[in-house]
């Protein structure tokens, strides 16, 4: 499995997959895609990394602990729901802000929510894969 060709290919593919996963995440609101799919694509990228370089390298490539991914993901999801409480609406009522951001479009709580899903899915998948790979 640890062939040079595969490793070299992974070096190119991995950043592409991560970027692609983020692209999929944000285009999800208007076209096929979204947090779940983006997260899975991202996780597939890391999985590739595990197979090519092993778990230790993959851990470094993730930068933060996998639990932190899950925790931040869940926090973002919950937080996006709590924003509406501050605005005086019921929990999880969508809030929109009239700021236009290039590429991403309008800023609103659903985007934050979906980002949370994205991070949580990556965290979950990587915990499972690494548990198996290391054991």
């Amino acid at each position: 499995m640890f062939s040079l060709l595969f490793r070299t290919a992974t070096r190119f593919l991995f950043p592409l997959m991560i970027v692609f996963s983020i692209f999929v995440l944000f285009r999800g609101h208007n076209a096929p895609g979204g947090g779940f799919i983006g997260g899975l694509v991202g996780a597939a990228g890391f999985a590739l990394y595990i197979i090519a370089f092993g778990t230790e390298q993959a851990r470094t490539a993730m930068r933060f602990s996998r639990r932190l991914y899950m925790a931040i993901g869940l926090t973002l999801m919950l937080g996006s729901g709590l924003v509406s409480l501050l605005a005086g609406d019921a929990f999880m009522t969508t809030q929109w802000y009239s700021i236009q951001i290039p590429v991403l479009g309008k800023l609103g709580t659903p985007a934050i929510f979906d980002t949370g899903v994205y991070l949580a899915v990556i965290g979950v998948t990587m915990i499972i894969l690494m548990s198996l790979a290391e054991d």
């Binding site: 076209a31 096929p32 899975l40 899915v121 979950v124 998948t125 499972i128 198996l132 054991d135």
Partner: protein
């Protein structure tokens, strides 16, 4: 088309049930995954299939006529991901069971306690 899908799903279910009836752990896991596929496809079919028009809104109002029903899709999407989580958990659980009991025969695990 529904009837073709119905028969296909029936075969998937049969295969899944057959697999989880085996005493082997690996077949059990694969069988559960197979049943997951079958059920997802079933929800999809019960939501009535249409050919080729994804539920994406063009313009400002509503979906185009003949577009696929978005509701079953939303259900299935999370079901797929959760099915993966469950499958992964089952694999790890069974791996653990195997390393403790060193048996591949599910029938020997009738007791819940260590003996």
């Amino acid at each position: 088309m529904d009837i073709v899908l119905a028969i296909t799903i029936g075969v998937l279910v049969a295969a899944g049930i057959y697999m989880i009836q085996r005493r082997s752990f690996v077949k059990l896991i694969l069988g559960i995954a197979m049943l997951g596929h079958a059920v997802n496809l079933m929800i999809f079919t019960l939501g009535r299939v249409t050919r080729g028009v994804p539920p994406i809104i063009h313009g400002e109002h509503g979906l185009d006529v003949g577009a696929a029903d978005p509701l079953p899709q939303a259900l299935i999407l999370t079901a797929i991901v959760i099915g993966f989580g469950v499958q992964a958990f089952a694999i790890i659980l069974i791996k653990r069971v195997y390393s403790v009991f060193q048996t591949d025969n599910i029938d020997t695990l009738v007791n819940t306690d260590f003996e």
